[in-house]
Symmetry: C2
Subunit: 354 residues, 2 copies
């Protein structure tokens, strides 16, 4: 199996820790290893490092190489511009075909998620590989909902197929866009929906067939990448013309055969500062603390300092972050609105701090 790690993020939701020059996948939010490093570490027992591909923006190729010194340099694919995940998958498919042929299984994995139970995660991935080989088509890892989350897409499940390696296999009836709270609650209680985690498993031939059928323009590019003598030149020539399209919307929703394996391995997409309360330990007042902090009568906060002392008295449910030359304060339930700050800074031409 090949592991395709999608590390193209340039997100702003962890500003001021994440910056344009240091997006989320490179942050050490959960321990000594960056999210990217942790992603590679966690699949290492299944996929040796020379079968790992990292797709990232061209300007982060050196940064990825620094994070992953054992990764062969030619396994880092630099996109000249970001075009969401469908072109990224097409590129990785071309690379896989040219080196390992069309029957190779690819596990497509985001670089910036957290997994609590790594052994179970590998067991599910391994079962998904077997399903991809046995049944063809596209396989996705779904997460059993543990809360009525309105921020994710959902998979509506269809008929059950025979289990593989002890893991349930379900057909996916359809993809559901982010629901309102009432429907999210019904999905959670109904037992027939999974969170769409963005982790996929398929053979190169299976995903190629769907791309050819659904996004012919992208398929042309995919062929050019597969046959290129100078891949970087082809990327520079073709990438800017690609549509910006997610693999979910561009391929998965219209695919002919999609199967899902439920995963209950404590997945977290590390979507905002608030996620830090779900990763790692809390103090006795429910605060997630990174760095140097003195908290008095302060509860249920996320406090993350980077060299400075953060002191708080009498606050709750706040995010307080210091990183380098900037400080962020917001309520936990508005952690997503960090982008409003980033927008404001961008509008006023303060790119140096982004």
């Amino acid at each position: 199996m090949i592991a395709v790690i999608m590390a193209g993020g340039s997100g702003t939701r962890f500003w001021p820790r994440s910056r344009r020059a240091e997006p989320k996948q490179f942050l050490k939010l959960t321990g000594e290893r960056s999210l990217l490093q942790a992603t590679v570490d966690r699949i290492a027992p299944l996929v040796p490092i020379d079968r790992v591909i990292v797709v990232t923006n061209a300007r982060f190729v050196d940064r990825v190489a620094r994070d992953l010194p054992d990764l062969p340099r030619e396994n880092i694919l630099g996109e000249p511009v970001g075009r969401n995940t469908a072109p990224c998958v097409a590129l990785a498919t071309a690379w896989t075909e040219s080196r390992f042929g069309p029957d190779e299984v690819m596990a497509v994995l985001p670089a910036d998620h957290h997994i609590g139970d790594e052994a179970l995660y590998r067991s599910v991935l391994s079962a998904a590989e077997a399903v991809a080989l046995r049944d063809g088509g596209l396989v996705t890892i779904g997460i059993t909902p543990t809360r009525p989350e309105t921020g994710y897409g959902y998979l509506e499940l269809g008929e059950e197929e025979s289990a593989v390696k002890g893991h349930t296999v379900r057909r996916v009836a359809r993809f559901v866009e982010k629901p309102d709270r009432e429907r999210a609650l019904a999905y959670m209680n109904g037992g027939n929906h999974l969170w769409n985690s963005g982790m996929f498993v398929w053979t190169a031939a299976s995903i190629r067939a769907e791309i050819e059928r659904q996004i012919p323009d992208l398929a042309t590019g995919m062929n050019a990448f597969r046959d290129a003598r100078d891949l970087a030149a082809e990327l520079g020539r073709l990438y800017p013309g690609f549509p910006s399209l997610s693999i979910d919307y561009g391929v998965m929703e219209g695919a002919e055969a999609v199967r899902a394996l439920p995963g209950d391995f404590a997945w977290n997409d590390v979507g905002s500062w608030d996620a830090l309360r779900d990763l790692g330990s809390l103090d006795e007042a429910g605060n997630a603390v990174r760095g140097d902090a003195v908290l008095v009568d302060t509860s249920d906060c996320v406090v993350a300092g980077d060299g400075k002392l953060i002191a708080a008295v009498g606050v709750r449910d706040l995010v307080i972050v210091q990183s380098g030359d900037a400080i962020l304060v917001c309520p936990r339930d508005r952690a997503q609105d960090v982008r409003l700050i980033v927008d404001r800074l961008s509008e006023s031409g303060r790119d140096g701090i982004l």
Copy 2:
């Protein structure tokens, strides 16, 4: 008239801006000038600089000299240890007597307050000088209450005496300790109470007589200071043995004749970070902002940065301060509780950050 500026504060209520090495009187909280500098500036039309005395802790003598380069060095009196304001007044009285004789009028003024209407302030001080000369006894400047403040002591007023220079003169019936809210409200509405601002005017002879009568031990020290050839040596010998006593509690409350002049010159004791909202301008959302800040959907906050960008989304009524290597976040109505942080840091031996 002599101006005695009491600059002995080592307060912690403006941590992390105020530090042990840089207490409040040296901070530029309200503009380009420190509170101490502003205090001297504001009395300059009444009192030439060579008649200004600053009493401070011995370790701040150089710091005061740097803030006030025109002040004669011998006018900076360094206390070897802090013993509250009564010993400070005794020392200043001795200094005044030895240079100008017992009939000299002294205006005793805190170094760390803010005055909105400086012309009116000088007019009241000038009237107080005339009262001190006409009537003897002790004169205090009281502030007409504008809110039911429970954090100050009050002056209960007695009979009215003949006005001086257009300013009302009242006997003080008694000093009242910090009241509860109900009494504070009654004081504000009753028109018979003033805030005790800690600003006093008297002749050296008048305050000497009260110190001799009420605190004989301190009077002995006062005589020694007056007659000393080597004042620093006498201070080192006697100061540690003095009781720690405020001039209010030690002298004013038991004094035989105290008069008050009401002052309505927009006085502010700059008691905590929250005071910044009463000094200087607010943005359209009611935030008092110092330094570099980006505020989105944020109102009625005090935001003070010192070199770093402070960004906030969706918060209100918070104090957010960055200064040097530390950050403070607390609700405005708990700004006084900064001392809890300072206590905690002190207990854990982190003196470097205090």
